[in-house]
Symmetry: C2
Subunit: 150 residues, 2 copies
DNA sequence: TTATCTAGTAACTATCATAGTTACGTAATA
DNA sequence: TATTACGTAACTATGATAGTTACTAGATAA
């Protein structure tokens, strides 16, 4: 039925490219607004309305930023979200890493590389992908949240 | 029903990140094998079996490379696929661009940026994304198909 | 001429990631 | 004690991708 069952040499995959993913945008959007008025506490409902999405989605995304120590949240009356530290100490790399995405997906399913060509190919490309991710991070580290809303 | 209908300030999106996408891998895999034996003509069925996928998928992906002038294909008896030029003249950037993917997706749906903050944010991030894609391309241009299978 | 082989492509299905949504538990406070 | 807001599970809807079937067009061998 499926051709790839016929061949044990399971195909390996890399991906650069983009994902249909608005988490990064939502995170940056929110952080930028917070940087402009750091003392204001915002509820997920406020943020969702401003960003045109749903409070649960907001809590989901900002939860990653909380885990990464970029935001703090408080429950109950007068609760909500605020920056955990000065916005000039938060870089785009912090945000990117907080969202736990990776530029490179070298599939785990890399099994038997029968031919040496495939092994070589895999290693070469993996090295290049590492280079690329490193330079991506360097570029993101160079910009803080404050700078993107000046 | 949908909150984003309540707010005209339609949210804009960027994406870095990766897509679940094996086209790049299939393309590189195939090109690397062709570089090793440039005179051999390969059918989509051969390639599919070796890559563990389906001939139609192969023709779909390689079709992009043909449009980009990296491969040629011939129909009929003894037809199939081969390199359109020397593999040391094909860089990873050629392949990446042939597949018509873009690292950056600054959504077309960027409508009204009501607040100036959003305009600034959008412009800043777009600039950074351009930087990143440029350096990605530079890195990919630096490696040829021949080099990834040495 | 005819059979065969191969690319090109449309159309459909299956799978998966994501976002959106509802619902409810937990914690804080007026 | 009622209210507010986060935390999170569970479900649905949507869209991208790959896989698959089936067909057409073109090229060659017999």
């Amino acid at each position: 039925m499926q051709l790839h069952l016929l061949h044990e040499d399971d195909f390996f995959k890399w991906d650069i490219i983009l994902k249909k993913n608005s988490r990064l945008s939502l995170a940056l959007h929110t952080l930028a607004h917070m940087a402009n008025a750091p003392d204001k506490i915002r509820t997920s409902a406020d943020i969702a309305e401003h960003a045109g999405t749903n409070p649960v989605v907001v809590r989901r995304v900002l939860g990653h930023l909380r885990l990464a120590g970029l935001l703090v949240s408080e429950k109950g009356h007068a609760g909500g979200w605020r920056l955990a530290r000065s916005p000039d100490k938060i870089t785009l790399a912090d945000v990117y890493l907080a969202l736990d995405e990776s530029l490179i997906s070298s599939s785990d399913e890399v099994k038997s590389h029968n031919c040496s060509l495939e092994r070589a190919l895999h290693n070469r490309v993996a090295d290049i992908m590492s280079d690329i991710e490193e330079s991506l991070l360097d570029r993101l580290k160079a910009t803080t949240i404050v700078e993107i809303c000046e």
